[in-house]
Amino acid sequence: MADLLGTFEQSVLLSILNLGEGAYGRAILNGVQESLQRRISAGAVYSTLERLEASGLVRSRLEAGTAVRGGRARRYYNVPAGGRRALSETRRALTAIWGNVELRAEARP
């Protein structure tokens, strides 16, 4: 079995998928923070995007910047077929690992 995606990588990929056409750095960072319910450093998200892109699990394109950005370009991300496949496999593997196990909170004495 291929290596599975980590929680953070899954969260970044899913955030891109949720954002659709509007998936760029800042929006992805906010999406990941929302899904993981904690503060995330920007450095972690951008490094992960870079690694995912180098592995072919994410693709990006540059678009012209706006005045508020000081004219700086904006990079939009999308998840190609390879990235979607990796997500599906991770999900399938996790489901198989968990099987029908259900964790119940232990009754307190």
Partner: protein, 191 residues
């Protein structure tokens, strides 16, 4: 655009310096946009500046790891420490004080570790599977350097040479850990 609403120029410059050229423009742009449109109106100047500084500094470990200057400094310090340790080993053998054998063996071990570190930095191997081992070994060396520093500081006869060596070992350990490739493997789809 009102420039008084923009992030402090020096913070932007600092962030720019920490980023690779090909990613600089878009990341700095994202930060500026977030700062102006969202953070500043919600949190005010001081907290917005702190927000900017916190996120900018999150790129520091990566910048240090990728920095060529750090790599060169590590090679230089490794080479210097190696010479010092071989010198210490030679002195131990010449003077033959009680327990010189074990000290000499330790000196040679550290010298060889320095040699391996310097060579691995000169001839980098991106797929090197032993990076974790190097990290672990250098953690131990750093610990050894710190203990030597502490013991030397408390000793009745302060040894300047030992002081320098202990500092070098700590610095070398930190540089090794910082310049190691911290990338984790990514899941690849099965063909």
């Amino acid at each position: 655009m009102n420039n008084s609403k923009a992030p402090p120029r020096w913070m932007e410059s600092l962030l720019e310096r920490m980023l690779a050229a090909q990613k600089r423009e878009e990341i700095v742009g994202d930060f500026r946009e977030e700062y102006i449109e969202s953070i500043l109106p919600q949190r005010g100047q001081l907290r917005a500046d702190l927000w900017y500084a916190r996120h900018a500094l999150s790129f520091l470990p990566r910048a240090m790891r990728d920095s060529r200057t750090m790599g060169k400094l590590l090679i230089f310090i490794s080479g210097f420490t190696m010479i010092c340790m071989f010198w210490l080993a030679a002195m131990e053998m010449k003077l033959r004080h009680p327990g010189f054998g074990s000290r000499m063996a330790l000196d040679i071990c550290i010298a060889l570790l320095c040699l391996v570190t310097a060579v691995s930095r000169i001839l980098p191997s991106p797929q090197n599977p032993k990076e974790t081992w190097v990290r672990g070994m250098w953690f131990l060396v750093m610990l050894f350097g710190a203990m030597t520093f502490y013991n030397n500081a408390r000793a009745p006869h302060f040894e300047g040479f030992v002081f320098v060596i202990s500092l070098l070992l700590i610095a070398q350990g930190m540089l090794t850990v910082l310049t190691l490739d911290g990338r984790k493997s990514l899941g690849q789809p099965t063909k």
